[in-house]
Amino acid sequence: MENIFANIGPVLLDMGSLPVVLAIVAGVTLGVVLGALPGFGSSQSLALLFPLTFTMPADVAIIFFLAVYSAAEYGGSIPAILIRTPGTPAQAVTVLDGYAMAQKGFPNRALKISLISGVLGGLTSTIIFILVGGWIASVALEFGPGEMFALGIFGLSIIGSFFGRDPTRGFLAAGLGLFLSTIGTSDFGGMRFTFNQGFLADGIPLVVVIIAFLAGPEALRLLINHRKTIEEPKTVLQISTQKADDRFLKSDIRRLIPTWIRGSLIGTAIGALPGAGASIGSLIAYGEEKRWSRRSKSEFGTGIAEGIAAPETANNAVVAGTLVPSLALGIPGSGSAAILLSVLISKGVVPGPLLFEAEPRLITSIFIGLIFINLWLLLLGLIYTRGFAHISKVSRRILGPCVFIVILLGTYAYANYTAHVMMVIVLSLAAYWMVKIDIPVVPVVLAFVMGPIVESNLARAMTIHSGDFSVVLTRPITLIILGLALATFVYSAISSMRSSVASTNEMKE
């Protein structure tokens, strides 16, 4: 921890360097633009921009991606407030009070509340990240291969349980990700599932899996949906019958402080849980705000400040929250976190408990970088916000082909290798099909990232104990973590069975 704070001075100087400034400015701008596009969440935006990081050094690449991630979470709120079209699923709740406030003639006030809440959520969770992340990493330093294996299984149990319509589909997708991670050369030199094809010897690169499973289905959907009628969004001007006091008021600050605190804590905690994300974070924050706020429940949805501030604080607080398990334990909690980890891995940095000890300067860069990113986001939002709403009106018919060509050439840029592009094309089709038949794709990516961690720690633990895995199970921490994994699985299975029985009864009636 001391190492991290000792680096603050040099890192602050780095923040003034041209590559870092460009990474923050470009990342925030691109993030807001992509976040404002309906259907483009933070993970799709990050997957699409992945090729841009190939030539960047590790610290610049991670700052660029954090800028895109934070800004995309905020960007979706602009069309949500101005034209009732949430850019990402996380902003679906913001529509309720944001659009209502804009319709009453206060669009600027709604936008400012969203912006300031998002920035405050981001800053608070950044501070929590540096304090909690360092502590968790120092505890996890004591973990051996058995505990790390158990931690991987716990992560997989959460991912399988809570993504998708029911746990069987979530675990089916996780199994697929685990299997894909075993293709190619194993840790001990054996070749697996290469079918005598040279291009499979090195396995499927993480970049290919990320682009194919996160950006691919959305690109194919944009290309295919051109036959269908798409409701054109309302113009921004139609709702802008602005009133004189359409601005962020001083009284708002006093009134919203408890909301910001609640939203920040909820967002950070939800972000730190594998499987949950900004959508769940904003939904829970809105629900809790309804419960704890002094306002009556009936006022929510009519255009009140708390209804915008709570979800917007939470969905931006998720960003730093998600870094806690990702960086401290090497377990990504969401598609976006998996992409952030893969950027680090592609630069030779290994996420996990040792990262805080081995790369204190990088951790400090992330900490300080997040602060600067949020400040730039605030500045950009204060200067110019409403223009971004027009982005959501870009025709899907044009957007689809453009996104698709970026995906193809972006994959090629990774290693100038046509086989990688072929893999992306085939896997994108598979991912698109999985989405169509209701199998979630995010667990595939998360399990693909965690597969090597789980496998190598399992192999190490078994080798140490001469193949007797029961010795590993005698360690109390391993047992506790595996017990938690089992409890998660049982809980999700029971709640899924209950909901399917309830829905069957409903349909019968």
Partner: protein, 170 residues
């Protein structure tokens, strides 16, 4: 249902493949096939569970056959025998594979312009001469943007026919 069944058949075959992987000579190491077998077993168990759940829920509730009035509604019906989405997805994939094969012989400039034209033209909601003109202009513009971003900006060694690899200063 058919897709999950196909996935199960594939997983069963790969599980058999995993059992054929050689055992480890290193004491304690469970072998290269151990972890893939676990992953494939997860797929098999969850796939079977998904099939059973689907079958049970279909038996309990049999919805009336949908009557489609337009092409879009028919397309959204997952039980329909021919799905236009699937046909179009396969066409796009075939076109993309063709694009990658032609990238080297035709060069980025021609291959990308043709690829973008083919993607844009049928998607533009206007009469064909105007759509063709706009698609052609859009295809060339996209090619130039792609060239600037990937070749000049990111220094990716994409095959070029007539545009320069580097723009040198005076």
């Amino acid at each position: 249902m058919v897709s999950v069944f196909a996935m199960l058949v594939g997983a069963a075959y790969l599980y058999w493949e995993a059992t054929q992987l050689p055992a480890s000579i290193l004491k304690g190491y469970p072998g290269d096939g151990f972890f893939p077998r676990i992953a494939l077993a997860v797929i098999l168990v969850c796939g079977i569970a998904t099939l059973i759940r689907e079958a049970v829920s279909k038996q309990l509730v049999t919805p009336p056959a949908p009557e489609h009035t337009d092409i879009d509604a028919a397309d959204d019906d997952k039980d329909a025998p021919i799905n236009l989405d699937a046909v179009e997805a396969f066409l796009i994939v075939a076109l993309s594979l063709l694009y990658m094969l032609l990238l080297k012989p035709l060069g980025l400039e021609i291959a990308t312009s043709l690829f973008m034209f083919v993607l844009l033209f049928p998607r533009l909601p206007m009469r064909w001469p105007k759509a063709a003109l706009i698609a052609a202009l859009g295809a060339v513009a996209t090619t130039l943007v792609v060239y600037s971003a990937f070749v000049l900006g990111l220094k990716v060694a994409l095959p070029l026919k007539f545009l320069p690899q580097y723009l040198s200063g005076y």
